[in-house]
Amino acid sequence: MGRRWQTMRRKRYFGRGTLFLLAAFFAIAFLLPTVLTITNSFMSQTELTANYGQVFSGLNNSKSYMAERINLQFIPDKVTLQQYATVLLKSPDYLLKFWNSVILVVPIVLGQVGIAALAAYSLTRYRGRARNVIFFLYVILMLMPYQVMLVPNRLVAEWTNLLDTRWAIILPGVFAPFSVFLLTKFMRRIPAALIEAALLDGASEWRIFTRVCLPQCRSALYSIAILVFIDYWNMVEQPIILLPDTAKQPLSVYLSTINAGEVGLAFAVATIYMVPSLLLFLHGEEYLVEGITHSGSVKG
């Protein structure tokens, strides 16, 4: 008996070890691109050209030294902030694009969450047949890929003369149904007794909304804001179609057009671009997980 127990335990430890190794493998694979981008942003231009020159040398035939092989460097030979200094002080282009991203994404996040809070409250309080129809419609719209929704968006932008202005992206973003969908599911979990008590106390709907409902879903609002933020911080399709003016395009599009001479800068800019979303992630991981968990079913 004792021996059998021992082998079983050994087996279990063995199994756990394998699982740990598996997890470690995936963790390394998942972290590698991010970590490499960050560490490489501290490399000097000469070192970068020497290591990766080949990859980005399509455009110019610079005479600087270039290795035959590509040297993947985890840690730069010489850590320098040179690239950051150039980006922040000498090349306003990147900062401008960064700012473009900010003024597109911030209004979308605030607007979408704000309008969704109103709509979701209404959907929670109103339980008619129309509610289910509307909810279904929103789910369908939410799940449509860009290829489908960009054609209507482009049409509206042309009718309203908004094409090539930031509003062409902001307005459809503000009314995107995703937040309404998710927030409705969060709000349904507010205990009915709470709203009932407020009603008995003679509170108006608006008062219940601002004083009972919103404080109750503060964390939900945060998690939805994170999800919306990352979606739009990462946008590529909408600017290409709705905002062809490259001067107004966000950094997410511009980063891919970087040419050979600026590889060093590109890593620094890429890192700067990650910072807002990574900070949000580190601060709000629990909320993010909560948000994803609640998106896990299409039913209202």
């Binding site: 756990r16 699982l19 740990f20 598996l22 997890a23 963790a27 998942f30 691109p33 991010t34 490499l36 981008t37 490489n40 990766y52 990859v55 590509i70 993947l72 309008i115 109103l118 709509a119 409250y121 209404s122 109103y126 339980r127 008619g128 509307i134 799940l143 890929p145 860009y146 290829q147 489908v148 929704m149 054609v151 209507p152 482009r154 049409l155 009314f175 149904p177 009932e196 009603l199 709907e205 990352i230 590529v236 399709e237 290409i240 179609i241 950094l251 997410s252 599009v253 980063l255 891919s256 057009t257 990650m274 990574l278 993010l288 997980v289 968990t293 896990g296 079913s297 299409v298 039913k299």
Partner: protein, 309 residues
């Protein structure tokens, strides 16, 4: 609604007219309905009305003559060689990427369910790619998968010959990896939520009865996870249609043939402003999506009830 005060709200009955048109609507009710209007108005103006126009554009010959041609645009579209290529590539990509996205995410969720050290750290690591903008990591992706790049060096250790990842038919594989990198975390969280919903006592009983881990996985966990699996599958399918973003950032406007996706097709037609073709394509895709979503709803209903009952 019944559990909310009976003083202010009458019991619900089925009426022919929506509440708004029936009179005797309390002020509060009006307020709560009015709160929905900003959203509904925006959705109507920015999505529904233009989408109806898209449907109309899809069945006329051109925006000047407005002649009704019924399915001609669709027939033309299906004849179009670049549309066929794009559709084929997109479907091939989905067929490879979606099963991997589902099964690997489930694997990760199961790994994190086991009692291993550093569990919460692993979850953070797996989830982190979701928060990293693709634009930020395409540079390193190009370095890794270059002909003389790191991946080929690593593979050389195992005696694999050099592959020109981005410029050969392997480029779909590179994009599949990028897709998995980006999406596995999200799917994993959904599976973790699904796993935590499995009744503990059922698993304990199975344990006492001497069920093997395999039996527990196959007959209990998978069964309870079936709605989640379905949801994750459809979500991944939708996300796989969005992979244009990764490809665009990796290869630019004109990718190699294997990576020419539906969104590239749309982009090129936006450039030439061929709204008939665009509308037909959008409508066709919308129909496919609605069918998928309908399957999702019905199946969730069935499977969900199955498990609950």
């Amino acid at each position: 609604m019944k559990q909310i005060s009976k003083k202010t709200i009458k019991p619900q009955k089925r009426h022919a007219l929506p509440r708004l048109f029936r009179g005797h609507v309390s002020r509060d009710r009006l307020v709560s309905i009015a709160m929905f209007w900003p959203s509904l108005l925006g959705v109507t103006v920015f999505f529904i009305i233009p989408f109806l126009v898209v449907c109309y554009y899809a069945v006329i010959n051109n925006p000047i003559q407005h002649e009704f041609v019924f399915l001609k645009n669709f027939a033309d579209l299906l004849q179009n060689s670049s549309f066929r290529l794009a559709a084929k590539n997109t479907l091939t990509f989905s067929a490879v990427a979606v099963p991997l996205a589902v099964s690997l995410a489930l694997l990760l969720a199961l790994v994190l369910e086991a009692r291993i050290p550093l569990k919460s750290q692993f979850r953070t690591f797996f989830l982190s790619p979701m928060m990293v903008p693709v634009a930020s990591i395409v540079l390193i992706w190009q370095v890794l998968f270059h002909y003389n790049g790191a991946v080929n060096d690593w593979l050389a250790i195992f005696g694999v010959a050099k592959i020109d990842w981005l410029k050969s038919e392997y480029n779909q594989l590179v994009v599949v990896l990028l897709f998995l990198w980006k999406n596995l975390g999200y799917n994993m969280i959904l599976f973790m939520a699904g796993l935590s919903n499995i009744p503990r006592d059922l698993l304990e009983v199975a344990e006492v009865e001497g069920a093997t881990p395999f039996f527990k996985f196959w007959h209990i966990k998978l069964r309870f996870l079936s709605p989640t699996i379905l949801f994750v599958t459809i979500l991944s399918l939708i996300n796989s249609f969005k992979v244009f973003r990764e490809i665009y950032l990796l290869t630019g406007d004109y990718p190699y043939e294997g990576l020419y996706m539906l969104q590239h097709f749309m982009n090129n037609n936006f450039a030439s402003l061929d709204y008939q073709r665009l509308s037909a394509a959008a409508l066709l895709m919308a129909v496919v999506m609605v069918v998928l979503i309908a399957i999702l709803f019905v199946a969730e209903d069935k499977l969900g009830k199955d498990v609950e009952g």
